[in-house]
């Protein structure tokens, strides 16, 4: 954007930083509201506001700098215990946060924020009761400075001097603090130029000095030299030095030319609370990671191909040395490729916290507007997932949370009537299980109503009465995920118009995951999202049917069985199989896909028992070829989205195999 003095890259980093800090602010404000004044929370709030103020001023986002500056002042008063976090105060802080989000969103879209900051600033200022918080001209620097001082510091900086804020603490028992302050001034002035001080030099001469004096120094001297000079003054207890102005981030980039080491304070601020402080990290563009992942995917394919070739060659007993060498090389390449793949996967892992952070606020706002009382708890927020998975699951999770608040948890009155505590409980847990990440969203609300689901399914003509009668409760629950199914008595603004759960299902299955629901009437409902660790590769079972090779994603497979002649029986004109006492519908894969049948015909071969949406289905295939890691490739624009197929993969011998989508295959067959 033209109005900002920052490159596109800088703005991108700026936006990321702002997002992190806004999330910290939000978490902090929620805590402040819930738990009242906690010094640690207030300190982190203050730091976050401070960081955003610094960076937004550095990129020249005046409105954001002004808002965060005003916010910082209020937080400072809260921090010092001069202001009580009354609901009115907190709600203005929340509003400030919302405005900051708007600004950020507009900047992300390259738009100028055009809102009116005036009223909000007035409110914040009133709370801060500090005159002159909008020293507009001085905002370039971290400090609200008098215009001449700011001007001089800017000039000095342009001349290659480093602007430092030197805070000198005097002994409280000092008899003549003004003299000490003046001595400190002289000591610092001998190292450069004192552009200003607080109290000013005139005030010092008028003996208006208390325990702390702040000097704004322009110098080429290293910090240690500055510190030593100020500390040489008698009765000086402490000296703090901070690099002034600029965003801490820019300051850090400049630190190479800066004398001395960056102060602890500056470093902490630059890293948003210091969380990442000790990790040596580099920010990488996601696109670069995506490309790396794709390249590794190609390598994985070649690896498999190469391994196959060298096995073929190696079969000859009298294999030449060169061929054996090729075999060793191929094995080594396979190992290295595996490591590379693991590392890149790791690099793409992001804590799920990123998605979950927004939720407490959402729950708070929603439950209020619905007149419900809810305790919301998040477990396992440090669980890691692939970036691309994280991007997809945000909306489904929000949807399920809304659902739980809207339909699951009852009003306090209803709950008391049902003999439950008036406050509902909503728990989101994320955890790693086998090769999947599971996210559970559990409420202790009224649970699902089996009778109503049956009725609705019948009304919508989704299933026959007989079929509905024979369904177990667990199977019934899964009907919620069918398109056009909604049990909400009224369509509320919150949960949308019955496009809810089927969309959740589509999103999750679209990334190779699965959704399930379990419910106990009167006790609550739990949704389970099973997510793949990554989107780029999956473990798959390769099968042969009708002379072609197909891949079943392993995540949906329950088991495989040898099909003996006669095991497949007819029931209601449908083919079924009895598996451990359960009757499961079975289909011949070649028939489903209209492929030429293999000679043996008559139902022998193998059955792959796959699950989707809580229902098991068997697919009879001619042969099982084994398990393998495969790289998912899109079918591409020519073919579009074909129901029943997730994509394609290249096999070791260079041939193609289609990846099957169990639910897509089954849906037309059952109706």
């Amino acid at each position: 954007m033209e109005s900002l003095n920052a490159s596109e890259e800088e703005i991108r980093i700026f936006l990321e930083e702002v997002e992190e800090q806004l999330e910290l602010l939000e978490t902090g404000l929620l805590k402040l509201e819930r738990e009242g004044t906690d010094p640690e929370v207030l300190a982190s709030l203050f730091r976050a506001a401070h960081t955003v103020k610094g960076s937004s001023a550095a990129v020249g986002h005046q409105a954001m700098a002004a808002a965060t500056h005003a916010l910082e002042n209020v937080l400072d008063r809260l921090r010092r215990g001069e202001l009580h976090p009354a609901p009115g105060v907190v709600s203005v802080l929340f509003r400030t946060l919302d405005v900051l989000r708007e600004m950020k969103a507009d900047l992300a879209e390259g738009k100028e924020w055009t809102g009116d900051l005036g009223p909000l600033l007035r409110e914040l200022r009133q709370m801060a009761e500090t005159p002159g918080i909008l020293a507009e001209a001085g905002i370039f620097f971290d400090e609200p400075l008098e215009e001449e001082v700011a001007e001089r510091l800017r000039e000095g900086e342009a001349q290659g001097l480093v602007p430092l804020k030197v805070t000198v603490r005097l002994a409280p028992e000092a008899i003549m603090p003004a003299v000490r302050a003046y001595q400190a001034y002289e000591a610092l002035a001998s190292l450069g130029e004192v552009a200003g001080s607080r109290p000013s030099l005139e005030e010092i001469e008028q003996e208006k000095v208390e325990a702390e004096v702040v000097f704004f120094l322009l110098t080429r001297e290293a910090r240690e030299g500055v510190r030593a000079a100020a500390a040489s003054v008698p009765e000086v207890l402490g000296v703090e030095i901070e690099r002034l102005g600029l965003s801490p981030r820019v300051a850090e980039n400049l630190s190479a030319e800066e004398p001395g080491s960056p102060s602890g304070a500056a470093r902490e601020a630059s890293l948003g609370g210091g969380a990442a402080g000790d990790n040596r990290t580099v920010r990488i563009n996601v696109e670069v990671l995506d490309r790396l992942m794709n390249l590794v995917g190609e390598l994985v394919i070649d690896r498999t191909h190469l391994a196959r070739l060298s096995t073929l060659l190696g079969r000859f007993e009298e294999a030449e040395e060169e061929i054996r060498e090729l075999g060793r090389l191929s094995a080594h390449l396979a190992r290295v490729t595996g490591f590379l793949q693991d590392e890149i996967l790791k690099a793409r892992m992001v804590s799920i916290d990123r998605v979950l952070k927004k939720l407490p606020r959402l729950v708070r706002d929603l439950s209020r507007s619905l007149g419900k009382e809810v305790d919301f708890e998040i477990r396992g927020e440090d669980t890691e997932l692939d970036r691309s998975v994280i991007e997809v699951i945000g909306d489904p999770i929000i949807h399920l949370i809304r659902n739980a608040l809207d339909h699951g948890i009852e009003t306090p009155e209803e709950r008391v009537k049902a003999g439950k505590p008036p406050r509902g409980k909503l728990v989101l847990s994320a955890y790693h299980r086998e090769n999947q990440i599971v996210i559970e969203i559990a409420d202790d609300g009224r649970g699902l109503d089996a009778e109503k689901i049956r009725r609705t399914a019948l009304e919508r003509g989704l299933l026959t009465r007989e079929r509905l009668e024979e369904m177990t409760e667990r199977e019934l629950w899964q009907l919620l995920f069918l398109s056009g199914f909604s049990t909400a008595r009224e369509v509320t603004e919150l949960s949308g118009r019955g496009v809810g759960l089927d969309l959740v299902r589509k999103n999750i299955e679209g990334i190779g995951g699965r959704v399930e629901v379990d419910s106990h009437p009167g006790r609550g409902t739990t949704f389970f999202l099973y997510l793949p660790l990554t989107l780029a590769t999956i473990r798959a079972l390769l099968v042969e049917s009708g002379g072609q090779v197909f891949a079943f994603p392993l995540s949906g497979i329950v088991e495989t069985l040898r099909v003996t002649p006669g095991a497949v029986k007819k029931l209601n004109r449908r083919e079924v199989m009895e598996v451990r006492g359960k009757v499961v519908p079975v289909f011949r894969l070649d028939e489903v896909l209209c492929l030429p049948s293999a000679e043996q015909g008559n139902g022998s071969g193998y059955a792959v028992l796959a699950t989707a949406g809580g229902m098991e289905t068997g697919f009879v295939v001619d042969a099982l070829l084994g398990e393998q890691e495969i790289v998912i490739k899109n079918l591409g624009g020519y073919l579009g989205e074909i129901p029943g197929f997730l994509g394609a993969t290249v096999l070791g011998d260079g041939s193609l195999a289609l990846i099957l989508d169990v639910r897509g295959l089954r849906e037309p067959l059952l109706n």
Binding site: I175, M176, A178, V179, Y182, Q183, E186, I204, E205, E207, P234
Partner: protein, 118 residues
């Protein structure tokens, strides 16, 4: 041996300072007002001056200025009473290095002198 010029119009104060500093091994010379102090400074070239502020003939601040004019390197410590902050400030601006407050605490005085003379 380091030499200290003690400037005070009170003989009692000069005596106390002399006793204290001699006891620490310093050589002490004296002056009873600012004018005398300037003359003694030129004669004796002391390593340190302890300068009272309020004195007849020439006050301590003027004496600091005069001495600094003759020797910019001169090391001068002001001896002041409580409530003379503005004057001490004035003296510091004129070039005084530090100050001690009367009535002296002996250790304080010695510590301050030591800081400059070792």
């Amino acid at each position: 041996m380091a030499k200290v010029l003690v400037v005070d119009d009170s003989e009692f104060m000069r005596m106390r300072c002399r006793q204290l500093l001699s006891g620490q091994g310093y050589e002490v010379v004296e002056a009873s007002n600012g004018e005398e102090a300037v003359a003694r400074y030129e004669e004796e070239k002391p390593d340190l001056v302890m300068m009272d502020i309020t004195m007849p003939v020439m006050d301590g601040i003027t004496a600091v200025r005069e001495i600094k004019k003759r020797d910019p390197q001169a090391r001068i410590i002001m001896c002041s009473a409580l409530g003379q902050q503005a004057m001490v400030l004035e003296a510091v601006k004129a070039g005084a290095k530090d100050f001690v407050v009367k009535p002296f605490q002996p250790e304080r005085l010695v510590a301050t002198v030591r800081k400059f003379l070792g």
